[in-house]
Amino acid sequence: MTAAAQINGFAIDAQNLTRRFGSFIAVDHITFDVKTGEVFGFLGANGAGKTTAIKMLVGLLAPSEGVAHVAGFDVHSQREQIRRNIGYMSQRFSLYADLTVRENIRLYGGIYGLPPAHIEERTKLMLDTLGLATNADDLVGKLPLGWKQKLAFSVALLHEPKIVFLDEPTGGVDPITRRQFWELIYAAAARGTTVFVTTHYMDEAEYCDRISIMVDGKIAALGTPTELKERFGADSVDDVFVRLARGAKKGEAA
């Protein structure tokens, strides 16, 4: 836990947050909080309800029940304010493949209302950091997957949000790129951005300040990686996960 977290309190807090689809309960009364400046890992098998939970937090889905605050704003009534304060990178690559790198950055800069000079400056900085300077005018669709993911992450941070939500950002990416991706995450956290990240790579969980493990729509465990390993007498987060997931009714079987 960083010093900033202790001073500012919570970036996210959720109480009994629930989402039903008909009779199916995708997210079942989850309660948790994320401290400001923290890298919070949101773990779970496919189908455990991670994406549904994240969609409720970013305002893409209305919760069926429960309350949650993101950056201090209510997910039911203050979505507009939430949107100004968060960045979001979805599971699916969602930059425009038929626009160039530069055009994508400019578009999102414009949507967040950044002044043109500021967009220029951020673009240059971003391209240099990512090593994409020579590819600025390439269509994004033509870039390798790893580069796309890093670019999407940087674009999600363009407007310097307080919190960034990453939904399986490293899916399908090679280990070296995953490593580089986590360096970007740490860099963002070091600048004070709260990072809420879902993953099913358990080695990545070890990089988080705290993690929660979702099983069948419920949070089965929550704590720092060290705490959880001790509590379950396990060698790794992977081990903890396997023990919890074994009791699952849906999830990986689905």
């Binding site: 305002g59 893409l60 968060i86 969602s94 425009y96 626009l99 414009g110 949507i111």
Partner: protein, 370 residues
């Protein structure tokens, strides 16, 4: 406002980067207009005529000569037997039977009145109506020449020909059809483009990304509407140029009024497309729904069949058909030189359509993204 500029730039970049799209948008409608403008006509060039002449007089031969000389009819066979004639008709070897009774000449000389019979193949009612009118014209002129009354008695074959009030022998069908076809093209392209657009972003996942930004619903919808609105107006301009210089369609009314009406109409047409796009989940669904709606709109628009000859319920429904109103405006302004006052009512109706369609689209989009 500044946000809108960035979004518009994005939409235009995406449209013009897709070469296939540009071809579809600008070239295909022009080709279609050239094709349909020449092909879609009610005009019947030459009908085959079978003659049953039981009179064999100077008068009856004179009538047959005039039929042949008009080039509207080509006499393909003759015999005194109506049975043979009917047989030709059944085997589709002739389109029309001209039956001249014995004593035609005598009747005309005595009473200045005569009756002849026309039998038409009315499987295609519109064509039969046109053919009948051509024949009536020739018979009428011939009767004048003789200083007599010649009453053609018409019967359809296999069905009765109904009298059709819309036919006007002086009207050039091309003038009548081209403005309508132009409306059809602008409608299909505009509505389809709009309908495919938002759902495409849904499929790609980029819509979710936009939905978590502070972008407002109306700015988003404006950014989707404006590019297609501009493109459709450009398309209309090209189409009008083709209409003017290739088809020589008269443009009696104000062109500014045509564009004014089009500007309003396109908001309705694109609004419907955008509403469909927010409702459906895949581009395929969008395409099917759009085609269904456009088909109904077009077939009930009065483009091919006059609204006045539709049953009451269909006429009532046509009031809710923006395509019908815009075709009426186009024909009225171009062909009749209608003034803004003349077309204020349909333009008003279109404006209401536009507002309703856009409101629905924005509300549905808002509902979807929460």
């Amino acid at each position: 406002m500044q946000t809108l500029r960035y979004l518009l730039r994005k939409e235009f970049l995406q449209v013009f980067r897709d070469r296939m799209m540009v071809t579809q948008l600008l070239l295909m409608p022009i080709i279609q207009l050239l094709l349909l403008g020449n092909a879609a006509t009610f005009e019947v060039k030459t009908s085959r005529m079978y003659v049953v002449d039981r009179d064999h007089s100077e008068t009856s031969r004179g009538l047959i000569d005039r039929m042949q000389a008009s080039r509207r009819f080509n006499v393909v066979g003759a015999s005194p037997s109506m049975d043979v004639a009917n047989d030709w008709m059944l085997r589709r070897k002739t389109d029309v039977i001209l039956s001249i009774p014995a004593d035609l000449e005598r009747d005309i000389v005595r009473t200045r009145n005569g009756a002849i019979q026309l039998v038409l193949n009315a499987e295609d009612g519109a064509a039969a109506g046109v053919t009948q009118s051509y024949a009536a014209q020739i018979i009428g002129a011939y009767a004048n020449e003789l200083g007599a009354e010649l009453m053609p008695k018409v019967s359809g074959h296999p069905i009765e020909v109904r009298a059709r009030g819309w036919y006007n022998p002086d009207l050039d069908y091309r003038d009548y059809m081209v403005p309508g076809i132009l409306v059809q093209l602008v409608t299909v392209v505009g509505t389809l483009m709009a309908a495919m657009n938002i759902v495409r972003e849904k499929e790609l996942g980029t819509l979710d990304q936009l939905s978590v930004t502070p972008l407002s619903q109306s700015t988003f919808m404006a950014a989707k509407l404006i590019p297609f609105w501009v493109i459709a107006l450009v398309e209309l301009t090209l189409g009008l140029l083709v209409a003017r210089f290739v088809f020589h369609v008269p443009m009696l009314g104000s062109i500014a009024l045509v564009f004014g009406a089009a500007a309003v109409y396109l908001i309705a047409a694109l609004g419907i497309g955008l509403f469909i796009s927010t409702l459906v989940d895949t581009q395929q669904q969008a395409m099917f729904v759009t085609f269904f709606i456009i088909m109904v709109y077009l077939l009930m628009s009065g483009l091919f069949t006059p609204v006045r000859s539709m049953p009451d319920w269909a006429q009532w429904m046509a009031q809710f058909n923006p395509v019908k109103h815009f075709i009426e405006i186009m024909r009225a302004v171009l062909l009749k030189g209608a003034t803004p006052r003349d077309v204020a009512r349909p333009i008003g109706i279109l404006a209401v359509f536009g507002v309703v369609a856009l409101t629905l689209a924005i509300r549905e989009y808002g509902r979807r993204i929460g």
